[in-house]
Amino acid sequence: MPSPFFTPGTRSQADQVALLHLRRDQTIPTVLQIHDDKNLGYDEGKVTNTRFGSFPHSTLLGQPWGSQIAASKVDTGSRGRRPPTQTQTSTPTETQTQTQLKRKAEDSPTVTDDARPTPKAAVAAASGYLHLLYPTPESWTASLPHRTQVVYTPDYSYILHRLRARPGCTILEAGAGSGSFTHAAARAVFNGYPSSEESLDEDQQQQQPSKKRRLGKVCSFEFHAQRVERVRDELVQHGLQGVVHATHRDVYGDGFLLDGASPHANAIFLDLPAPWLALKHLTRRPVEGGNPVSPLDPSTPVYICTFSPCLEQAQKTISTLRQLGWVAIEMVEVQHRRLEIRRERYGLDARGVRGAVVFPKSVDEAIGKLRASDRGGRFRNHKDDSIDTETPPAVNTTTITANTTTTTTTTITTQNTPVYNLGRVVHRTEADLKTHTSYLVFAVLPREWSEADEAKCRAKWPSSCVVDSKPFPAKSKKQLKREEKAKRDEERRKNE
């Protein structure tokens, strides 16, 4: 089955994972099914209930991705009081106990589709909708069930870029965790689904000189048995089983070989508490206590990234990397911010507008308000007197009228401006700020280069063979052109 993560097709299909997008940051992953395997007793078959209404899967299936789907009227209340089996199948004579027994029997997955009743047609509700989206590693990361600390998009996007994870690569991942990195890595290396025979003898194929492309894969290791099972289930559900190989293993002791053979890794990601303990397996030549065969691809440089929240872990990892001959060692941290962008509105006319702050938006407005509230006030007479003595009253009145007109015009403009254009667009960092995720340690292990290799290379490319007369262009292009022109001119002169 093609994975909806890579090749979603045009429409949603049964038994595929889909995302129900309610609003930003509120997305529910679900497997689309007509019938409800959990048998929750809805007449409409499988139903997903959200805060914006209920959605029977019959309304979600076969829809173009991205469609806006209206909520349906689903009886969510009375099903608890009813016998929990489908009422259509049970005959009225059946007793309560019988139905309970039957329910147990039906829970087993042996029930075929034919035996089930056709779900009731959904009736559109008065309000509520969602958008049906195909899953991506990003949306999955935002909505996945947390098992461990999640590697979020800002980190994994940078890591995969630095690991040079490209289609056709093999990535080793230790510490599968919640699977967010696994999905993103699978997308990065994906360049096709393996056919059945390809997955069987992949190693043979790699050694074959045939032009057949090498298919990208992710080898994921996790030492937590239950998590491995969950990851495997998830992979099958997501159609990734051909791209990701999940193995239950403690990589500190047992390394990275698959059935004793090398996975030929091009890139490694270690999300482990003690990455330095796993490094002894990741060498070009077996070291003491490490894997008997190198799990690395002998023909390419190998990139590594370790992901550790504490500085001490990173320091220890780097020290071990140095001892094992890794180069270009670098440690970084990623600082990511999401921005909240909205219109901010101030003004005395904003009373009753949601989100707006009632406060003069300008000095003019403040003065206008002061004058208005002052009119007929206590200090009026006194103020007028003082003005009389200092400035001609005519000027004073004109300023007042001018001010009142400006206030009225602004009210008119705000009345005419639609609400979406009021105020000023501002941005700020979102309230939830991840100030530290982990320290990322990057390093590269170059290919092994023996004296025999060097001798071969020297035979092919003789060291001292330099044919060009100029060792390097000491003259610029312009200079060369000028010289050429001078030469030509000279020749012409000679000919003449």
Partner: protein
């Protein structure tokens, strides 16, 4: 990939100064690295990447002057010079923090001027000319003639030595020239503005949020029913860096990526003028076979792939893809064997928006009769076919682009983003991602505002009202609506903007801290949203405004950090009202 240095390919080089260069090892020539020396290109061709070479003074028996510096040596030097070797680490730390009996060495006595170095500039210059040992001699001499060396703490001595080492060591490390290297090279050594100051972290985010990936090997029978996979729209004004980054993710950047057999064999949809393209090919080989089945062209057609493609929208008559030359692809003179030859398509904005006025698209080269064609001079006939092919190719690519169905839109442009969205977003499939990069936040915050909840509500209400009017009014009303709303706000959901910056650290025992300085400049922001297909019928949003508002205010008082936010409408807990 990148298993060894190939002749004539561009190669990145890292120098001791941490600076980078791009060289091109042409066989039998000399490569110069400026003050770090020069060497014959043959001595690095065929060797693996990431090895550090030292340029020695005396050639060995083969005439080789490059010596591979082992990783152990590299680190040993760094560890010793940094005073942090595993053996001496302890002692140094004692000294550093003054825990031992020995008096703690400080910089109290150090005179802050250059009088401590007894060597003059002239002497150093002279030494540079004659000294051997790949710079090691100079450094030794410099250390020798430094009068206040004994006053330095171990760490400051290490720093001094390291600084001199960076300046004088004649070493270099060839690095594969990929998007990551090129980005840092452009940022650090070249004109950063040319690539809109894109950093690695932004490129990673753009690719991930854009969901840019390889289209897979869907068998033909499966592909017939569904559409081709992984077709991306790209607007790139970074000289081709974004195109390169996306191509790298799709496995079509490097010539050694090889061709994607699976996607190229997917037949073109027959209604497309692709057949004409094929036919002209058939004509060329076998004149007179007008109606014959188009035979497979002897050579590959440019821009002919159906899946796993990049369609570049460009503002000038020709796209600027100059940076692609580093990956062996020259747009003006493309190499047929390069995957981009078939997978990169270019469409100008004029061709996309109003193709009938585009000179290439609309002027079909007139086909001369068979007789005239056969009597034509060969050069003229070839010129005709070239023109005809170009027209057919443009026609094909533009029609395909205008038909839409793209899986993503990636924008890094100087143009007003809203104008790009206006034309490109309707051509995306549902659920496709839209990503726009901008060095500064303002263009993107304005863009987010154009997709705000208030705008969506107003747009949908107004549109519904227009729909209810007579036909004549409808035309006028829709025109007014388009004038008021430059983009249809109901086509994108979850518009957001983010930014990311990576901070590098120095990690040495006792001296671990973030680097003291790094590159400033624009932060670089990334807009992301998802294309959706709004329902034709009116759907009322769910949620009770007044009730929910109360709930939110409670939430704010108890746990302000968990307040859900939606763009444009910060603290509401209701669904957008439609």
């Amino acid at each position: 990939m990148h298993s060894y240095i190939r002749p004539n390919d561009y190669v990145g080089v890292r120098l001791p100064s941490e600076g980078t260069r791009i060289i091109r090892p042409v066989p039998n020539t000399t490569v110069s690295l400026g003050k770090y020396g020069s060497f014959p290109a043959n001595q690095i061709i065929g060797r693996p990447y990431h090895l550090t070479f030292e340029i020695t003074e005396t050639p060995d028996e083969d005439g080789n002057i490059l010596r591979v510096v082992s990783a152990a040596e590299l680190h040993a030097e760094s560890l010793i010079s940094d005073g942090s070797g595993e053996a001496d680490g302890e002692g140094e730390e004692l000294e550093m923090y003054g825990d031992g009996d020995a008096p703690m060495r400080t910089n109290r006595e150090i005179v802050d001027d250059s009088s401590t170095q007894k060597m003059t500039l002239e002497e150093i210059e002279a030494l540079k000319k004659e000294a051997g040992g790949a710079g090691r001699e100079i450094i030794a001499k410099l250390l020798e003639s430094h009068t206040a060396l004994d006053q330095k703490t171990a760490f400051s001595l290490a720093k001094y030595t390291l600084r001199k080492r960076k300046k004088y060591m004649r070493r270099f490390t060839p690095i594969p020239l990929d998007v990551g290297f090129l980005t840092n090279y452009m940022l650090g050594e070249k004109d950063a503005a040319k690539i809109m100051e894109l950093r690695d972290e932004a490129i990673g985010l753009i690719g991930c949020w854009g969901n840019v990936h390889h289209g897979g090997n869907t068998p033909i029978e499966d592909a017939m029913g569904s559409r081709p996979n992984s077709r991306y729209f790209v607007v790139d004004e970074t000289g081709g860096l974004i195109v390169a980054a996306m191509a790298e993710r799709m496995g079509i950047l490097f010539s050694e990526d090889g061709d994607d057999e699976a996607t190229s064999t997917v037949p073109e949809p027959s209604q497309h003028p692709a057949n004409e393209d094929g036919q002209t090919e058939a004509d060329q080989t076998e004149p007179g076979a007008e109606d014959s089945v188009p035979s497979r062209s002897p050579h590959q057609q440019p821009m002919s792939a159906s899946g796993n493609t990049i369609t570049l929208l460009h503002a000038h008559t020709r796209p600027n893809l100059s940076l692609l030359k580093y990956f062996g692809f020259d747009y003006d003179n493309p190499d047929e064997s390069h995957p981009l030859f078939k997978h990169l398509k270019t469409v100008s904005w004029l061709q996309l928006v109003d193709p009938s006025t585009d000179p290439i698209y609309s002027n079909e080269p007139e086909e001369p009769s068979q007789e005239t064609l056969s009597t034509m001079k060969a050069s003229k006939r070839n010129a005709f076919y070239r023109k005809r092919n170009r027209w057919a190719r443009t026609r094909n690519v533009v029609d395909e682009a205008r038909a839409g169905g793209f899986d993503g839109l990636i924008v890094a442009s100087l143009m007003e983003p809203a104008t790009i969205m206006k034309y490109a977003v309707p051509l995306l499939t549902g659920s496709a991602s839209v990503v726009a990069f901008s060095p500064t936040v303002e263009p993107l915050s304005e863009l987010v505002d154009l997709y705000s909840t208030h705008r969506k509500t107003a747009f949908i209400t107004q549109k519904r009202q227009i729909r209810e009017q007579d036909e004549e009014d409808q035309v006028q009303g829709l025109a007014e609506l388009e004038a008021e709303f430059i983009v249809d706000p109901s086509l994108l959901v979850a518009a957001s903007v983010q930014t990311s910056r990576v901070r590098s650290w120095q990690v040495l025992p006792g001296r671990t801290h973030p680097l003291m300085s790094s590159r400033g400049g624009p932060e670089g922001y990334i807009f992301h949203a998802i294309r959706v297909l709004p329902a034709q019928d009116h759907i009322q949003a769910a949620g009770n405004q007044s009730r929910k508002r109360r709930k939110v205010s409670q939430k704010e008082t108890t746990a302000p950090a968990t307040t859900a936010t939606d763009s444009g409408d910060a603290n509401t807990d209701i669904q957008m009202r439609l």
